[in-house]
Amino acid sequence: MRFQSPESVDEAVALLAADPEARVLAGGTDLLVRLRMGDVAPSAVIDIKRITEMTTIAQDDGGWRIGAAVPSAEMNETAALVTDWPGVTEAADLIGSTQIQGRATVAGNLCNASPAADSVPAMVAAGAVARVAGPNGSRDVPVEDIPTGPGQTSLAQGELVTSIFLPAKPENSGSAYLRFIPRTEMDIAVVGVGITLTLDSAGAVTAAKIALGAVGPKVIVAGDAAKTLIGTTGDDPALDALAAACSAAATPIDDKRGTAEFRRDVTGVIAKRTARIALARAKGEA
């Protein structure tokens, strides 16, 4: 196995394009675990942490560009980012533990393509866009279009994610992410819900994006559920309708982490709780 540390995106793309068995290494908190378990045996490991442009968080066009090699701890150390996108940063703050977050990236969380990845529903709800570099140049892809199923992505041979872009935070908007786990931490989401919503001056919801994690083969954009909120103030009947719509949008299976019925139920419950936090943030209350 070769270990390579390219110092530019072009170099990384060339290495990846030349070797279909090569793997990108960001924080390694998924990859190294799988290597040790014998699940994967790549011919080469391409470390992206030496590529300067991928290690920075920068303000860009009113939004935020987060390099693909930026550990999630750094996101939470960037106060203005936390103020703009608390839903995304709180999701990143749920990944593993302090030690894990010193390494783990949200781009790695995305490209690992686990249906339960915590930062993914939060990023989707925020309208995040991944910048992908490849042999044919670079392209921007909505985050929800990167994973295609468990462990599968839409990235072509030779492609890698170089950054994640979070758009400018709309006025009077709020974002939040909550997950359900059987324990209090160090666990994998049984249900995860990311919500971003925007209010008008009267306190009615004008826009909402809702993403569900861990209740389908990939992140689910719950469009019908978002519609239930539009025009409401997020009062109890509205949240009950939201919960029902989120439960209906979920497509969970029975597995060792819970029955399908349980997951569907809890999707609604968590959606409701997430929406309450996003509403409060949109009103500037939290």
Binding site: F180, P182, R183, D187, G258, T259, F262, V266, V269
Partner: protein, 747 residues
């Protein structure tokens, strides 16, 4: 009263909280655990395991693996040329390396030794096993049915009634009186069915050893175990070696909780070493630990209890069916003994069934058999209290066993501490603290036998007067600290003058494993007696120096004194002074004691817990937890509290989230700490330990074992709290969110 029985006294050192002697090495990483040892020329071992729950092994082709560069030995069952006569040793052998059949997912079928870990792993992949897959059964009730797939025929004991499959290998019965007549007198009788899941001991250090065995039959093992004498004797028995030719040294140990009171792969390492002619290190992965070392048994239980309106229990029965895994077990009998042990009952009957299934061989886990014994009994008592509007602590006090009570499992109790724990619970502020919405409070009692057993201790007085103490039990709960404290107490010297080590199997006589909460009791007893032996010798040396009769010498404050004015007027001789001239007064000074310790003194606890259940997700949060337990005498209270808290923490895990999950294919689906959910620190509140001291008459300082009882009550205490707050009786463990939510919704 003979001096070696309990005597009330004021302690100088016992009961204090000195810094632990193993602490610095452990926190600085210097302590050597099972995987930390290396040897010149050492090879890496690896084990190939069955992917099938039940399969005939038709053939194994190891030729490709043997041909690989760096592979020094490949073994299968054929390399275990000795067949032990005893059935239990034959089972250990077959569990270490499958013979005709693989009996569970993870059963070892071959092993390799190679010059690197990666070569060893690659070699495993090159071994071809031809399996004939057989029907399997991993559920205890299914396994009992007459038409169930049979794991091994011909193992049924005579006491098993007709009508079951051959998987039911043993049945035990306990009790007295006429429970049916007792139920007639009751105002309310409740009968319920309960289940508990298999749970793993969850020790953090995976099993590991470094083994060497020569063609001359001499060998050595460095191993992480709860009992290196057990490892020696079992390996010798399984491989047909002389125990005296094997020298086994115990490493530091990162937890065991009963799971390391057995042999899982040490014979394999020895046979690999014998074949390769080199030392072999074998370290299990977490996946292997879960799949192939013992969890405790899962269970299926029926309990029936009758109660009068005043709270008195009129009759009680329980049937325990415990899953022993791939070999005949003996654990259900312990459940049948423990279930009603806290109560004074006229009419009681219990029975236990030992059931084989296609799962790993069940192993001891902290008070084996007792947590699942108490859980249904304490649940039904709680439900009776609810329905009859009775106070659960008062009701337990009313029925509590006391000195003189004939226990449901036979013996009559001496002085015991159950009442004291219940009364302490009643007067604790926790009992009257207010509860909020969705919150409930549960209480439960628990019992454990405690154990003594074979024990040897040597105590050497060194030329400078310092003291070296050798014990033969791996220090798993602080025994080096406790032994040093008891030796210093008895000798009358400062604690820093005594250092205790865990000696290897060639240095002391036979010692039982560190189990049964026996070490502080039994090794402590032997330590005190070894100190008394050394004191006797030192008194003789002083007497010889003074020219007086040894009977006229007293020992106090670490020195020999003339017993009284008639003995003569001599200045006291300290241990240092006596040691300095030992070569001139008869030679080196050492005390020792060998005993099969009896009188361990049974142990009781009462636990109290507050939980909050999320009505929308079924998630149970533990808010407050208090343990009331009798320690006899707490030698080092920090360690005692640690045992109380640790047992409660493990019980909380068992109650709420831990379980072995098997698929339809009979394979374990959660062999790792992600989906086998032991509690993390943030899942637990501060667990408040309340130590009670009702001296054990069988120990000179009154010590009782404390290590196990604390895991017995939590299952029921939490179930009672959750059932009370959610208004539905929960009867299946773990009370994981999906199960609790379904129960609350009545689905």
């Amino acid at each position: 009263m003979p001096k070696d029985e309990y005597q009330s006294r004021d302690f100088r050192i016992v009961g204090t909280r000195p810094v632990r002697p193993d602490g610095i090495d452990k926190v600085t990483g210097k302590a050597r655990y099972g995987a930390d040892m290396t040897a010149p020329g050492m090879l890496w071992g690896a084990i190939l395991r069955s992917p099938h729950a039940h399969a005939r092994i038709k053939s194994i082709d190891t030729s490709a693996a043997e041909a690989m560069k760096g592979v020094k030995a490949v073994i299968t069952r054929a390399d275990f040329t000795y067949q032990p006569e005893s059935a239990s040793l034959a089972d250990v052998l077959d569990n270490c390396m499958a013979g005709e059949k693989a009996r569970y997912d993870g059963h070892a079928v071959a092993a390799v030794a190679a010059t690197s870990k990666s070569i060893a792993r690659a070699a495993l992949k090159a071994i071809k096993v031809d399996y004939g897959v057989l029907p399997h059964v991993t559920d205890v009730d299914e396994a009992m049915k007459p038409d169930a797939p049979v794991i091994e025929a011909g193992r049924v004991q005579e006491n098993v009634p007709e009508g079951y499959s051959e998987n039911v290998t043993g049945r035990s019965q306990y009790g007295h009186g006429d429970p049916e007549a007792g139920f007639e007198k009751a105002d309310l009788v409740i009968e319920r069915h309960f289940t508990t899941a298999a749970t793993h001991q969850g020790y953090i250090e995976p099993n590991a050893c470094l083994a060497q065995l020569g063609a001359d039959g001499q060998g050595e093992i460095w191993v992480c175990t709860q009992g290196h004498y057990m490892v020696r004797n079992t390996c010798a028995g399984v491989l047909g070696l002389d125990a005296g030719m094997l020298r086994v040294t115990a490493s530091e140990i990162g937890g065991g909780f009963g799971g390391k009171t057995h042999v899982w792969m040490e014979p394999t390492a020895l046979v690999l070493s014998r074949k390769a002619g080199k030392p072999v290190k074998l370290v299990l992965s977490r996946d292997e630990v879960f799949r192939a070392t013992g969890p405790t048994a899962s269970s299926s239980i029926d309990v029936k209890i009758g109660m009068k309106k005043d709270g008195s229990i009129t009759g009680a029965t329980a049937t325990y069916r415990l899953q022993a895994g791939a070999y005949p077990g003996s654990i259900a009998f312990l459940s049948a003994m423990c279930g009603f042990a806290p109560y004074d009952l006229k009419h009681v009957r219990t029975e236990g069934y030992e059931v084989m299934t296609n799962r790993p061989k069940a192993a001891a886990y902290r008070a084996p058999g007792a947590p699942m014994a108490a859980y249904p009994v304490e649940s039904v008592i709680d439900e009776l209290c609810q329905k009859l509007d009775l106070d659960p602590l008062e009701t337990r006090l009313k029925n509590a066993a006391r000195e003189g009570t004939k226990a449901s499992y036979g013996p009559t109790y001496p002085a015991i501490g159950l009442e004291a724990t219940l009364k302490a619970a009643q007067s604790h502020p926790h009992w009257i603290a207010p509860l909020g919405e969705n919150q409930g409070r549960g209480v439960a009692c628990g019992f454990w036998f405690n154990f003594g057993g074979d024990t040897c201790v040597s105590l050497m007085v060194n030329p400078d007067g310092t003291v070296s103490l050798s014990e033969g039990n791996p220090d798993i709960g602080g025994s080096r600290a406790s032994m040093s404290m008891m030796a210093a107490e008895e000798l009358g010297v400062d604690l820093d003058q005594v250092r205790t080590v865990i000696a290897d199997t060639a240095s002391l006589g036979q010692n039982e494993v560190t189990d049964g909460s026996r070490v502080t009791f039994a090794v402590g007893l032997a330590t005190i007696k070894a100190a008394r032996h050394a004191i006797q010798i030192m008194k003789e040396r002083a007497a010889m120096t003074w020219g007086i009769d040894p009977e006229a010498v007293d020992w106090r404050d670490g020195a020999a004194h003339p017993a009284g004015p008639n003995a003569g007027k001599f200045p006291p001789m300290t241990i240092k002074e006596i040691a300095a001239i030992a070569s001139n007064t008869g030679g080196p000074i050492a005390g020792h004691h060998e005993v099969t310790a009896e009188g361990a003194g049974v142990s009781f606890a009462t636990h109290m817990v507050d939980t909050e259940t999320d009505p929308e997700t079924g998630q149970v949060k533990v808010l407050r937890y208090t343990v009331f337990q009798d320690a006899g005498k707490a030698v080092h209270p920090d360690y005692v509290e640690g045992q109380f808290q640790g047992g409660a923490a493990q019980g909380i895990g068992w109650a709420i989230n831990e379980e072995y999950i098997y698929g339809e294919d009979g394979r374990l689906q959660n062999p790792g700490f992600l989906d086998y959910r032991i509690p993390v620190a943030s899942d637990l509140p501060m667990i408040e330990p309340v130590i009670l001291e009702i001296p054990n008459p069988g120990h000179p300082y009154g010590v009782r074992g404390v290590g196990e009882t604390s895991i017995v009550p939590p299952l029921a205490a939490i179930a009672n709290a959750v059932s009370r707050s959610s208004n539905v009786r929960l009867t299946s463990l773990p009370m994981s969110p999906p199960k609790v939510l379904a129960a609350m919704k009545g689905t």
